[in-house]
Symmetry: C2
């Protein structure tokens, strides 16, 4: 039989996202080849199957998911793409897992400039390389103009759990120390000030970072760490409340011990926001027995991501389920979960 | 020290989604407790850690992700929640994996009635139970009114790959039979007609279904199946083109052999759409050696999800990389990948 060869593929040189980029046809393939594959390609993803096939080392695994809707999509210190990698890597790391593989699901708004998408994808791929994880499977949907805000990203992640480590928010014991890896509020206030066009004596930059390097070194050295959590939405206040509630213990913290950058403190005061309620994207709260404190603190401070690590409080035999702070003025106040929404679309 | 107990939690009896439901504070917890946990709860999810810890049987795993943005979110034959479960389950199953665990990431629009969210979540949980998978980790973000369209869902999935099965779109050999598990176009045309308010002699209903039961039985009986794919976006046309391209072979199909429901055919003619380009959500294309055809067809037809299974064509030693259809009139035409977008937001 004789059939003339197909016409060459049309140039497909659109400069903005079209509905057809999400339709599973020729334009979807063009988007893959032009934007996604050059940055993400690896031996598993390159097969372009509907599912990645993975050889995992034996053992238990950790599995997590997060959707990212931060606005703006590029902000001082990061992009929604870096956030989508680092946030999911950190959720695996604080569970005691070595992060290995990510999925990436994009929802794109019709009309989004391709050059903006490419900026995000490139920064996302670089973040994955820095964190030592591979994006092995993905998906792209397009919705009409006004049906989402530029782009949303979901990443899910798989990691292998370390043997001999048992981290749980139910593990806190009276006498444990509460260690925070660095300054609070940087991410949330970087977003807020860039969104509101505020400027301070020094620019506020997001702390967006993958912590699996530091956390891995820490768990190798001190596998007896009791609990770890990354204080993202709801800030350190939400994290400490969750730990206190889950373990049925009280937590006492000292305001003067909590590292806050002057510009962040200034912005929080101006906007009437408690820095303990502000999201962080490169910080971890570590709970350890008193005997391990010196080792943990030395190790964290030797890492870039933990150089400002500080003991901010301890687990106490009082006010079970509650977090109480001794203020700079010597009074005490309850640090509650935030009720409302002070900082929308921060992550 | 003496601190009076916290005021009881406010009733939090909002009837619509508030920005604060996504803020990681008290309202986020309330949403979890009121809507998500009653439907999804299981021993792993109930721990409410930032990551699920899973014991997998040894062996290779499959990992996949999809975001779902279908509009309307409830349609004849399903909901966005059922689609999010079944679509991801099917992506694992067609890779030869036994689906085990799902993640669920929700992006919700401010103002979405909670009763609508609950309908979706309930149908999603029922779909997971029918498919025999557990939702083990999740995430909820809220964006402002007009920043997404009601709700989007991402599901990622993990399954364990069967030993001794090697499915790949690069496995097609000349002489293989192309089997389709049932009628084409039901899902896409159910969405289109419900969206446009069209009615036909009989209502068109989505074929949305989890196929892991039928596919598992098939692979147990015939582990030598060469390739499987679910013809979702881009329809059977896109699937066959991907198979032909990946294997570097030609595919010949017969129009008269392709099962199409009369109402779907009528709707496609009215709207000027080729049913081969329309998304299916409960169908699978199976490629097998000629020797296995009878066994495969018998087995598929004995299952509810495959009762209309038919041989629609074969792999041929001609027009490599192309799909050619013998039409009902005896002529031949090339079945190409769809270029544009006929059916936006179908899945």
């Amino acid at each position: 039989m004789n059939i003339s060869p197909l016409c060459p593929t049309p140039m497909l040189q659109h400069e903005t996202i079209q509905m057809a980029h999400g339709a599973g046809g020729r334009l979807s393939q063009a988007l893959m080849q032009r934007v996604f594959m050059p940055h993400f390609h690896n031996a598993i993803l390159d097969l372009l199957d509907d599912q990645a096939k993975l050889n995992l080392p034996s053992g238990r695994i950790a599995f997590t998911t997060d959707s990212y809707v931060v606005s703006p999509i590029v902000f001082p210190g990061g992009t929604i793409g870096e956030l989508a990698v680092n946030g999911t890597v950190n959720d695996l790391a604080v569970g005691g897992a070595k992060p290995l593989y990510l999925s990436a699901g994009f929802v794109l708004e019709e009309g989004l400039p391709l050059v903006e998408l490419e900026t995000i994808v490139q920064s996302m791929a670089e973040a994955a390389r820095r964190a030592g994880v591979l994006v092995v499977t993905g998906d792209t949907k397009v919705v009409g103009k006004g049906q989402c805000d530029r782009l949303f990203i979901n990443t899910s992640g798989i990691g292998v759990l370390r043997d001999g480590v048992n981290l749980s928010c139910r593990n806190l014991n009276v006498g444990d120390a509460i260690i925070l890896s660095g300054t609070v509020g940087d991410h949330g206030m970087a977003i807020m000030t860039s969104r509101e066009g505020l400027s301070f004596e020094s620019q506020i930059t997001s702390d967006c970072a993958a912590l699996n390097g530091m956390i891995g070194a820490l768990l190798d050295a001190v596998p007896t760490v009791h609990a770890m959590r990354d204080p993202t939405r709801g800030g350190v206040a939400a994290t400490l409340n969750e730990l206190a509630t889950a373990s049925g213990v009280g937590i006492a913290i000292n305001e003067t011990a909590i590292p806050v950058k002057p510009a962040v403190r200034g912005a929080c005061e101006l906007l009437g926001i408690d820095p303990l309620h502000v999201a962080n994207e490169g910080k971890v709260v570590v709970v350890v027995a008193a005997a391990d404190v010196a080792t943990v603190l030395d190790l964290m401070r030797s890492c870039d991501d933990g150089r400002d690590a500080a003991i901010i409080g301890s687990v106490v035999d009082d006010h079970a389920g509650m977090v109480v702070m001794r203020t700079a003025f010597g009074s005490r106040r309850i640090i509650d979960l935030p009720l409302g929404e002070q900082l929308p679309r921060i992550c």
